[in-house]
């Protein structure tokens, strides 16, 4: 029997503000007289969602802002009720929906541990026995008897997470909590999550935007879009779809943007003005997509107000979340002098090794002392297509496609 069952869940909200007492009375009167003319506009936050979760599964729910992720979690935690449809949960639930909801600024850390324990339904005895462990995990020994209002925001969240994960529930609901604290603490939270999932075999519903983390931790993922379930499949398939959607959104934004803006937003000394970038393969100019493993030519055109000797120019590829994949600079090969007036640089990649996806191109021009003259990320977005190669033959878990020579040796 599935531990969570969601059947045809639909949630509608009224748009606009809640009405005043006067308006409500007037509309009630109108209704009584049978003149029900007034209807507020309705918004479907969730539209006919159905899925089940078996015990021990870790389900990641992703989607862009406003896709309905948090609304779905609210239904699982029975904070709100569906407009139509049904949500059945068989087991106790620990909602970590925004950790620290119950943290009171006036109370000390220790007092808050007990208060939040009670709010989450943890018996006082258990809190008492786990107190040291909680304080230890939160790394706040020194400040535990100080009111939380004097804590930094990171400290507050650390405290909240430490309390919430000490709860012993069948189902954990996590909303964006992995993005708390500094990197070291994030690592620790992540380890704690993995331990709960692997060793204690808990059912976990996790929601967020950090797709890489969620993909790693989940056994299944669901992607929502505008309140509808788009795909319910393996983490890899879902995250690929997520990236595809993100990239589409970025390309759409790019096309809407006026390009003369680029110079205004770039980090620049004002000496150099970027004119344009052109990408071509096999002597045809490519507007939005290029093909993997093809010779690729990138042409950069800019205007300089002065001369710069021994300057350097680098071009790079990055993902939509700004992970730099590759950067290459002209200075490594030749001494490069920038002349006054229009300059053009042509860069040819013999075999483009970047795996299909949508990427940004960044450009950076520096002077002889490595001082930045002009630099900007995402001056152009470009989609890389698999071309002739079948998508299934390409690994989707990485970014660079290396084609090595293989040799099989067998001992006789």
């Amino acid at each position: 029997m599935p531990i969570i069952e969601v059947k045809n869940l639909t949630k509608e909200y009224n748009l606009g503000t809640a009405t005043s007492l006067k308006d409500s009375l007037r509309h009630t009167l109108a209704k009584l007289q049978g003149k029900d003319t007034w209807q507020r506009e309705r918004f479907k936050a969730l539209n006919d969602i159905s899925f089940t979760v078996e015990e021990g599964e870790v389900v990641g729910i992703v989607g862009h802002n406003g896709a309905g992720k948090s609304t779905l979690l609210k239904h699982l935690a029975s904070i709100t009720k569906p407009t139509t449809g049904e949500v059945i949960v068989r087991g106790s639930i620990a909602p970590l929906i925004e950790v620290g909801a119950g943290v009171n600024p006036e109370l000390t850390g220790r007092e808050n541990i007990f208060l939040n324990g009670a709010i989450l339904g943890i018996p006082k005895k258990i809190i008492q026995s786990k107190l040291d462990e909680i304080i230890d995990f939160s790394e706040l020994e020194q400040f535990i008897d100080t009111p939380v209002k004097r804590y930094s925001s990171g400290m507050t969240v650390k405290l909240g997470f430490s309390i919430a994960t000490s709860m012993d529930a069948d189902i954990l609901i996590i909303d964006e909590v992995l993005a708390v604290g500094d990197l070291a603490f994030q690592r620790k939270c992540f380890d704690r999550m993995e331990e709960m999932i692997n060793k204690q075999n808990k059912t976990v519903i996790i929601v967020g935007h950090n797709i890489r983390q969620i993909e790693r931790i989940s056994s299944r993922m669901i992607i929502l879009k505008n309140g509808e379930k788009l795909l319910d499949a393996s983490p890899k398939k879902v995250s690929n779809l997520y990236y595809e959607l993100t990239n589409k959104a970025i390309l759409a934004q790019q096309n809407n943007k006026i390009d003369n803006n680029i110079n205004a937003t770039a980090q620049s000394t004002g000496d150099i003005e970027f004119n344009n970038i052109q990408i071509s393969q096999n002597d045809t100019i490519c507007e939005s997509s290029i093909v993997i493993h093809q010779p690729t030519k990138i042409t950069i055109n800019f205007t300089s107000k002065r001369e710069f000797y021994k300057a350097d120019l680098s071009i790079g590829f990055h993902t939509s979340d700004f992970v730099y994949i590759a950067t290459f600079n002209i200075g490594r090969k030749i001494t490069y002098d920038i002349k006054k007036g229009i300059n053009e640089v042509e860069c040819t990649i013999h075999d483009l090794p970047i795996l299909p996806g949508t990427y940004g191109i960044r450009l950076s021009i520096v002077d002889e002392f490595a001082g930045i003259l002009w630099s900007k990320e995402g001056i152009r977005s470009i989609a890389i297509d698999p071309g002739e190669i079948s998508r299934t033959m390409l690994s989707m878990e990485s970014m660079i496609d290396i084609i090595p020579a293989w040799r099989i040796k067998t001992a006789r």
């Binding site: 909200y13 809640a18 005043s20 007492l21 409500s24 609210k74 935690a77 029975s78 904070i79 709100t80 009720k81 909602p95 929906i97 925004e98 909801a101 119950g102 009171n104 006036e106 109370l107 007092e111 007990f114 208060l115 324990g117 009670a118 709010i119 989450l120 339904g121 018996p123 006082k124 009111p147």
Partner: protein, 272 residues
């Protein structure tokens, strides 16, 4: 009603923790602390005693200051519990939007929180009784029942008011005004025996007198205040005739108020 009791038991630790939080938060960083809480009945007692010296109110031989203090004690407990209860849901927005537990925990917590201030007022009452040399009789054992009954009345108002207040914040503004008006309709400044004497014995309002008295005692606080004074100061059993109309009213209203709250509860997180 059985589920209410079950929930109450299941969430007793939460109610205790939230009540404790309310108290700690209110009195942290304040030196006078709880003493401020009992300032209100003492001040009112002083003012009423002063006013009475001009207009004269019959008290059946019990000293007026202690009589009015014994009236203020349950009255203020009721008034503050109800006011706090009505705004208890809206003042916990963060919790309502994040975590689910039965929402009646909030109004109940508000009642429990006020018990502490009531307990301190009892010390003052004890001091006054020592001063006026009044010994409590065996009937004082009624006091816990009377307090519990007061809490139930405050809860009846709170459940209904708190649910309304989520939709229309007017409620938390209106209620204190309405309650301070109700104080004049309750035997706080004057004793119930005076009302009884005027209406039942002297038939002041003619043929309407008996009905008016029933209407007066429909206010459950009339019976409560009178009983409180009787069992503690006069060494008499509660006057059940004065308690009955109010009790029937509450017995009808409490389930309605509770069901109303439970129905509205489903949309709290969406509307609040």
């Amino acid at each position: 009603m059985i589920t209410v009791a079950k929930n109450l038991y299941q969430y007793r630790e939460l109610i205790a923790a939230l009540a404790w939080k309310n108290i700690v938060v209110r009195y942290k960083q304040s030196y006078l602390g709880l003493l401020l809480a009992v300032l209100k009945p003492i001040m009112l007692m002083a003012i009423f005693t002063l006013v009475r010296s001009f207009i004269g109110i019959e008290t059946d031989g019990t000293p007026y200051p202690i009589l009015t203090f014994a009236a203020l004690l349950p009255w203020i407990f009721f008034q503050e519990s109800a006011s706090e209860g009505v705004s208890s849901v809206t003042s916990n927005t963060a919790l309502i939007k994040k975590i689910y537990f039965p929402r009646e925990v909030f109004p109940i917590t508000a009642m429990v929180t006020k018990l502490l201030e009531l307990a301190i007022s009892f010390f003052i009452l004890a001091a006054l009784m020592t001063y006026y040399q009044i010994m409590p009789s065996i009937y004082a054992l009624w006091v816990p029942c009377i307090i519990l009954y007061t809490m139930i009345i405050a809860l009846t108002i709170s459940l209904f008011g708190a649910a309304i207040n989520v939709y229309y914040r007017d409620m938390s503004q209106l209620l204190p005004v309405a309650l301070s008006l109700l104080m004049y309709g309750s035997p706080v400044i004057y004793p119930l025996s005076l009302v009884k004497q005027k209406l039942l014995d002297e038939q002041m309002a003619g043929e309407w007198s008996n009905h008016l008295y029933t209407l007066y005692t429909l206010n459950p606080l009339a019976g409560i205040i009178d009983s409180f004074q009787r069992v503690l100061l006069k060494g008499m059993a509660p006057d059940f005739n004065a308690l009955a109309p109010g009790f029937i009213l509450i017995a009808i209203l409490l389930p309605i108020s509770y069901l109303f709250f439970k129905r509205a509860e489903n949309w709290f997180a969406d509307i609040i």
